[in-house]
Subunit: 543 residues, 2 copies
């Protein structure tokens, strides 16, 4: 990537460099750079290395047919802030720190931008990895050495799983919805969770939850006149997918004052407004627990939401990937399927799609790209179309499929791994709860910052009341005020957060999303660096 | 899946049942069924089990909002025959055989419909699986038992790979293009293959090659006025992806008479025709070795193709996933990158995307969903847009990424695994070559059938000169004549092939695609069953 983001990165570095050099009183946030400073050399490095430097770029590629003017405008429109500009700068700084240690006021980049626990040293759950390894290389299953290396229940589980895979072939394309035996296991796990049956034929296993979301958007969106109700703030996969499929995101605002409450009156208001503009609203996205907002919906609220979808003829798209990440004793996760069925709504009463992923939970197996959706309340003919969409990519990866079955059927009391598994799980979840609370308290102690608690998920989404002078400076730098704040934070501390504008927010308010994932021993340093930075930032811009 | 394809399946079974019952002289292809026959019970089983049987279906789902009339019409338009109707029938028959052994004139279903070697008992390459297992569960790397279970070079390779992964975290999202160290390895392998350097920053690792193809179609297609030149016959991923993205497939016909030759005059003719209809042709898809056609392009022909794309300003989309599957001594695979560079065309002269996959080759690791594309000749700004598309789904699965690096850097002379690896590779490839030749000869011995040789890939695509009576019978059954043939073949022999109409073909000609993948010991039975069936079919329909 470094190569072709170089243009943007160079611009950003140039901006920083220029503005700092011209500044008479350099602040720690925008360090003044000499012509021999590491950032300047980096800039020079980029310019010399790549023939496609800003100056020569246009002419260089003039003989090739594809330009920014003739690519699909939907692609241009799509945005994905979680891996956007700030992360590009962070990667450049990280390389810079590696090449020139001591060149910045921090010695490492602290990635709080993405829910990627294992990138921050969280260890995988042992049982899951034992089973995956054995399924990858089944010929060791019968060897005596294997008994010494793997737990007995992992070996047994690997045998069971291989039995469920036609021909024990973990290297074969599977059924396009996923291996039937694994779907059976997942359906049993869902039944145990909800108290209502799940049909394995309703499950579509996918490479993480993202392709499942795309599949539903592809099915539902015909043109820009088709709208999808999405929470604001939202996880940018939704805005990106809606943009790519050419639909319209119909926003509904979560109420920050009531802990990111989801008000039915707001849904009604936004639906009515959209309809008056000729938008055919087709579905409602609900993210529970919330991303980036961290709230966990109450049961009564969930019933209202189901009722709203039923009444208005909307598909309920329930993003439930954080179902195992709940940190407060007064809240509990309930699937929308359980809520709907407990209200007496059956298969043919309401169209409901639930997304789940192996990337989240306490296991955080992001790199395995496992996930699934449960599709209920669609006619057989429409389901056949969803199946066709799944079949075009043949199937999702088998390790991800196996892992999806494991998260829904972990070791049980009496299994050899049960105690160590439970200990690993408990250690991660309780530590996440402590980290969430510490960061929440720290954020709330900052001038002009308010932060709702992270009841669930992996994020805090504090509101920053930015001084006018900072907003003006951001305008001059042609960047959103929260991005301005986030860039200064990064440059001063190495802490990477995502500006609230990447998730959308009530106009005129500014936020950032910060994960609770850095390892617990790093949290005090993050708190003190953030606190110190914030004070200086406010001092500089208080006006 | 079984559930929601039941409607179609029931219709198919009903058709078969009805037509056979009314027939006074039942043929072996359409067995006469008593009211207590297994197929009839199956039909009854479907009707009772699912409330959504044909009769009640419409009313059942009338309370739900999504219907065939209001889903995205692009989804309706998309077709994917490799997993279509014939495969659904085969799955039903397979279940049927399991529940009622002896109920059909065959005792197993022989899947020749899909390039899925491990589903047909091909064993994975040991070295690859050793490395994958060790990367999945790195904590066993240092244990003494591991030495007894794994080869020394697999252990060493796993250590190397883990070193390349930031934090050794195989469970973390990676860079959206894939782990940099693995891309370095792949780029080295490409350089060794081509004699020209490859830039790791040009590589985008994906979950199999399919998502890479979709990404390029998404970038290039703005509306139905954008056309993509595709070979006919083609692999239906292309027609499906173009349909889903709302573009126009501009066909160019391969010349069956000259062994599926790719004539530049045909490209010119079709380009001109498309332009005259107002189509903006943006890219040329070339599949080499060919799917479903099995030909391997000659070097001179490849140079003409590059020149054509250069002259006409087309992106060359080179599907090179069968690069390791070449079976004839007089042909050799050359990448289009190598051809372009050897012609003196550099990075800024031609836009070229090459697709590669771990699913094909001799290793056939379809279920691992590994693959990549090499993107050259696009400006940095456009590349940034491709990166953005990749980043929306975060990254491809890490096991697939690791495997992609392994196929491009297999064990070398002197490595402990080298000999066993080479033996496994040679055994698979030489057996595939023998199977291809045996099946090709068998097909060519059938009345009215001609079949080009499979120089590469995994398929034969014979032309069947169907008798008028068969074509008429197919019309009456409202099915394409080659699908009619394929269904009869399946019902009589259990052999599953894909009708040529799924790949498109010269109008008025009929083909089917048959893989060369069934295990070698099953080939004689396939040949004799096919020969016997074909004779009876021709006897029945010769007229």
């Amino acid at each position: 990537m470094r190569r072709f983001i170089s243009h943007k990165t160079i611009n950003l570095i140039s901006q920083t460099t220029t503005s700092s050099i011209s500044s008479s009183s350099p602040s720690p946030n925008s360090p003044s750079l000499s012509p021999n400073s590491p950032l300047t050399s980096l800039l020079r490095f980029f310019s010399t290395l790549h023939p496609s430097s800003p100056d020569s770029m246009a002419s260089d590629y003039s003989a090739t047919p594809i330009t920014m003017d003739n690519i699909n405008p939907k692609v241009l429109k799509c945005e994905y802030a979680v891996r956007g500009e700030i992360v590009s700068i962070a990667q450049t700084l990280q390389q810079n720190l590696k090449d020139n240690p001591g060149s910045h006021p921090f010695d490492e980049i602290l990635y709080c931008n993405i829910g990627n626990p294992q990138s921050l040293a969280q260890q995988p759950i042992t049982f899951f990895r034992e089973v995956l390894a054995l399924c990858d290389h089944p010929s060791i299953l019968d060897k005596s050495e294997t008994q010494g290396l793997f737990s007995a229940d992992a070996i047994e589980r690997a045998f069971q799983i291989l039995e469920q895979i036609p021909g024990r072939a973990t290297g074969a394309y599977s059924h396009s919805q996923g291996i039937k035996g694994l779907r059976d296991t997942i359906a049993s796990g869902m039944k145990a969770r909800d108290g209502f049956p799940a049909d394995p034929n309703d499950l579509f296993l996918t490479d993480g939850a993202s392709p499942a979301v795309h599949m539903m958007m592809q099915l539902l969106i015909r043109s820009e006149n088709d709208g999808i109700l999405c929470p604001i703030p939202q996880y940018p996969l939704y805005s990106a997918s809606i943009a790519l499929h050419g639909g319209t995101l119909v926003p509904y605002y979560l109420d920050e004052q009531t802990g990111w409450g989801l008000e039915i009156s707001e849904l009604e208001h936004q639906l009515k407004t959209a309809k008056s503009k000729g938008i055919d609203v087709r579905a409602l996205v609900v993210i529970n627990p919330g991303n980036p907002t961290g709230q966990v919906l109450g049961e009564a609220n969930q019933r209202e939401i189901v009722e709203f979808c039923k009444k208005e003829g909307l598909v309920l798209l329930a993003d439930e990937v954080y179902q195992e990440n709940v940190y407060v004793p007064d809240k509990k996760f309930h699937s929308f399927k359980k809520i709907s069925r407990s209200m007496g709504y059956g298969e043919t009463d309401i169209s409901l799609v639930s997304f789940q992923s192996v990337s989240k939970g306490f296991y955080g197996e992001c790199g395995k790209r496992g996930g699934y959706m449960e599709v209920t309340g669609f006619s057989p003919e429409v389901r056949e179309q969803i199946y066709k969409l799944a079949s075009v990519n043949l199937c999702s990866n088998i390790s991800g499929q196996i892992l999806a079955s494991l998260i829904m059927s972990p070791p049980k009391v009496g299994d050899e791994s049960y105690e160590s598994f439970s200990a690993e799980k408990e250690a991660i979840l309780s530590s996440l709860a402590r980290r969430a609370k510490t960061l929440e308290d720290a954020l709330n102690s900052l001038e002009g910052v308010t932060c709702n608690r992270a009841e669930g998920a992996m994020y805090l989404f504090p509101c920053i009341n930015l001084p006018d002078k900072a907003i003006k400076a951001a305008e001059e730098a042609k960047t959103a005020p929260d991005a301005f704040y986030a860039k200064h934070l990064l440059n001063a501390t190495g802490i990477v957060v995502v500006p609230g504008s990447g998730f959308r927010q009530v106009p005129g308010t500014w936020h950032f999303r910060c994960t609770i994932l850095p390892q617990e021993e790093k949290i005090p340093a993050i708190v003190s660096r953030l606190t110190e930075f914030h004070k200086k930032f406010m001092d500089e811009f208080r006006g």
